[in-house]
């Protein structure tokens, strides 16, 4: 059995004096995709940020490749951080408005010295192709992109340093159905590359169900159910899970 890539133990986070994550524990194997679903405000984004140490937890542990991630510093922390990338919920605010797409994608490659300058543009174009964008967006600024284009640039930026863990926080929620389907297939492809694990956060159970190996249901900051995706949908055990399934069924288009 693989040693887990990421291990979260009894993680607690307080925000504004309130406990918004309550003893969350799970493990994620290399190449595995774990879905995190839950109502709005249940703590999904908080969990994503705490796992990446963008928020200091009040209690609990995060292990990265078996080591105490919360205790890492300096070069070791930077090396671990490079292996963990995040795509945020809101594409409009996650990209620096002053930078062009070229510099947005060049930055992670240059910062991590991954690419020599003459190969840089080629690598950037390859990244754009991976997310179905063409060279025409290279010299545009984020405000000159549509929402879906911006989201794909954010995904390309996250993939640039070849991470081992991708945290996708509502990465599909702002893009249209056709691109959603393409992105879902893209995540499906990434999922089967043994080298990339994914925490796939979404309020849309329909995508989580087809894209994830296992799904954790978050409610008021705590995991109330964690199961293999198909069995969670087929035989939910918790009321919150049942409510999410019912709502997802209601949002399906009835064509009659």
């Amino acid at each position: 059995m693989n040693a887990p890539l990421l291990q979260v133990e009894d993680l607690c986070v307080h925000r504004g004096g309130v406990r918004v994550l309550d003893r969350v524990s799970f493990a994620l194997g290399a190449g595995e995709t774990l879905g995190i679903v839950g109502a709005s405000g249940s703590g999904k984004s908080t969990l994503a940020r705490a796992v990446l140490r963008l928020l200091e937890p009040a209690d609990g542990r995060v292990r990265w490749r078996g080591r105490d991630f919360l205790a890492l510093s300096g070069r070791e922390l930077r090396a671990a951080r490079r292996e963990m990338q995040i795509v945020f919920q809101d594409p409009a605010t996650s990209l620096d408005p002053r930078m062009t797409v070229f510099s947005i994608l060049a930055e992670p490659l240059v910062v991590h010295r991954l690419e020599r300058s003459h190969a840089l543009e080629e690598r950037i174009l390859a990244l754009l192709r991976e997310v179905d964008l063409g060279p025409e967006v290279l010299h545009r600024h984020p405000h000159e992109l549509s929402g879906g284009q911006a989201q794909r640039v954010a995904l390309a930026r996250a993939l640039a340093p070849s991470p081992a863990l991708l945290v996708a926080d509502e990465a599909l929620s702002a893009v249209d159905v056709s691109i959603q389907a393409q992105m879902a297939n893209l995540f499906g492809k990434l999922r089967h590359s043994a080298s990339l694990a994914c925490l796939f956060i979404s309020h849309d159970l329909r995508f989580t169900a087809v894209l994830c190996d296992r799904i954790a249901v978050l409610s008021r900051g705590a995991i109330v159910e964690l199961a293999e995706a198909a069995s969670l949908v087929r035989a939910p055990r918790h009321d919150v899970t049942r409510a999410l399934i019912a709502a997802a069924r209601e949002s399906e288009v009835q064509r009659r």
Binding site: A39, D90, H139, G188
Partner: protein
């Protein structure tokens, strides 16, 4: 109530100039809800922003946007401000930018209530709490700042604020796409209630057919800046005629719990950037039904019996 004719919006990026929205026409009647659906970059947000002239100054807008007969594109800033918020309110998918970071949520909504209705402070507070309850937020949330709320909570606060202005027309750009399915259902109920009980007209821009189907009486499908099909919602879903509309329906994820192939069926390729649109039909290079004539001329939107269609080789009616 709202009549849009030949609305065209051109942008300048670097050297290139292109039309993001090209000769779009539609009507929005009293108490009607029209869904503008289409892929990323099709121009939904541009249409929404142009109605109240909220586009950046470089944008060139032509055509007519008439509100009860008055052309909004010709109004001065003062006249426009009287319409913004009061007669036409907007809800965008970027709530953090639209909320005031240094005012508590409840205070912002109360101010909006008082700006549009003659009530005292206490009355405004009561109405604020009612509005918040209607979008699933609590009195505690009223005392918080925007950055202290989750993404979905902010979006709901913004909807409450827009409703507080008691607009005649609500323009909503992806109002629920960041929300979980449970809250989404609640917001859609709220919007439907506004339409049915108060006769508020709604223009909903979304990529999500499911959302449009649940709220809208009519749907107009945008592709590359043009309307390619429009119809009553039930008719559009039951018998899509434009190959693009059919492609959108087929892109939807499979019903929950269905077994079988996991690969979804997106439409081939992606929408071309505005300056690389093919001549003739803009959809033809992604279209499984395209033939030679599609390259020669651009199909015009032809309306018959309340259904509009711009296609030379439509999908057969069932």
């Amino acid at each position: 109530m709202l009549r849009v004719r030949d609305l065209t919006v051109r942008f300048q990026t670097g050297e290139a100039s292109f039309s993001a929205v090209d000769r779009i026409s539609f009507d929005l009647g009293h108490g009607e809800a029209l869904g503008l659906i289409g892929e990323s970059g099709s121009g939904k947000t541009t249409v929404a922003l142009s109605l109240l002239r909220l586009l950046p100054s470089g944008a060139q807008v032509s055509g007519r946007v008439e509100l009860s007969g008055e052309d909004l594109l010709g109004l001065g800033p003062d006249a426009l401000n009287r319409i913004r918020g009061r007669r036409i309110a907007m809800v965008f998918h970027d709530p953090l930018a639209a909320l005031n970071p240094v005012l508590r949520i409840g205070t912002q909504i109360s101010e909006a209530v008082r700006a549009h209705q003659s009530v005292d402070r206490r009355g405004a507070r009561t109405m604020t709490l009612e509005l918040l309850r209607a979008v699933g937020l609590t009195a505690n949330d009223a005392d918080r700042y925007a950055h202290e709320l989750s993404g979905g909570m902010r979006q709901r606060a913004l909807i409450a604020m827009s409703v507080a202005c008691r607009p005649e027309i609500l323009v909503a750009d992806e109002p629920t796409s960041a929300l979980d399915a449970i809250v989404q259902a609640g917001i859609l109920d709220l919007l439907r209630g506004l339409r049915e009980e108060r006769g508020v007209s709604i223009l909903l821009a979304t990529h999500d057919l499911g959302t449009a189907a649940r709220l809208c009486t009519r749907i107009a499908v945008l592709y590359a800046g043009r309307i390619v099909e429009s119809a009553r919602t039930t008719e559009l879903l039951a018998s899509p005629r434009h190959p693009y509309t059919l492609g959108l329906l087929r892109s939807l994820p499979p019903p929950l719990g269905s077994s079988g192939p996991v690969r979804l069926q997106p439409i081939a390729g992606s929408a071309p950037p505005p300056w690389e649109r093919p001549g003739g039909c803009r959809f033809r290079n992604r279209c499984p039904r395209a033939q030679d004539d599609c390259a020669k001329r651009e199909p015009e939107l032809i309306e018959i019996d309340g259904r509009g269609l711009a296609c030379f080789h439509p999908v057969d009616a069932p």
